[in-house]
Symmetry: C2
Amino acid sequence: MVRQPAINAKHRTPLSTERIIEAALQIIDAQGLSRLTMRRLGDALEVEAMAIYHHLPRGKEQLLDGLVVHVAAVPAAVPAPGRGATRWRGALRDWARGYRERLLTHAGVLPLLVTRRNPAALAGTTASLREILRQGGIAEATAAVAAHTLLSYVIGHAAMEVRGTAAGGEPAATAAEPEGPVDWDARFLAGLDLLLAGLNP
Amino acid sequence: MVRQPAINAKHRTPLSTERIIEAALQIIDAQGLSRLTMRRLGDALEVEAMAIYHHLPRGKEQLLDGLVVHVAAVPAAVPAPGRGATRWRGALRDWARGYRERLLTHAGVLPLLVTRRNPAALAGTTASLREILRQGGIAEATAAVAAHTLLSYVIGHAAMEVRGTAAGGEPAATAAEPEGPVDWDARFLAGLDLLLAGLNP
DNA sequence: ACCTGAACACCGTTCAAGT
DNA sequence: ACCTGAACACCGTTCAAGT
């Protein structure tokens, strides 16, 4: 007869940086960034908090850096090199919509995107945007500017939406919103088109 | 002969919300947001930390909300109603440059701008931007979009700059910045013009 | 190699007490 | 009214110890 595994099995699936970051993201999405604690994260992984340090020696700092990369390092899909008239514009538009959605579903990570100084994290993302613009016939210098402008707009707009949405999530117009509740989706798309319209090869 | 004040004078200038927020901002600017502690803030004000709660009953939450308003609630100056051709464009450009500079000198507050849900904080700022656009002959609906777009861009770009600048502040091009060190000022102005050029009455 | 337990130096906040 | 002192329930992290 095979021995029953102990209640606290010693040989369960071991920890990994992947699993740690995913569990941390779940806590942030469900309860908010302020509730992400090494002790709580340990609980979620059914492990003592101190076990995490074996995989992330730099501790919580390293965890937060990993979360930013995990959420925000999403490159844009470069379209096939056939030069359609509005092809690259569509590619940028699609990426912007998807990227914004990702930022909003992980809104708790947004403040980390601002806090963590890490030039490398978004290097791939900006590079892919520049490449799309370059293939669209935009000059190298303006492509660099436009890539940065687009990324700044998407991140900034997501930040505005998160900070501008009241905690309770009430629909009525308050004194704070004299024009009534904002349709953030429509606002985002209109601003995006305004920005893309300014880009001409 | 006048009595010498005691070492710990009982009747020194009393605390005020103003003084508390200014002291907090000094700590953030000099040492970073993570070093802002109720106890350290008390030290800076030569008071026990618990005295702060008498002026800010909601504690640190209220302090952080106050900091956001203090730093980010800056309306744009609406130009005289004479309709110069590029007058309103210049007004928006000037405001954006000044606002960005303010955000960067208080970069430690930037994550709070994203975290704190407070629609009221930026209502005056967006209203002033809409007013400038409206006087420039922009239709009401597009003015609302453009105001949001501009503010999103400025905040997003400042966030990108802060997060994209390495902690040490080294000038050399690293693997993270394949195109070499970014001229953030130039980037910002170029993107700003790209955005403003898309606005036509 | 991987995890635990106890300990340390901090936090924000409450609450009764002082003046 | 305004501030203090002590206390409470948390933090992140170190470090020696277990398996």
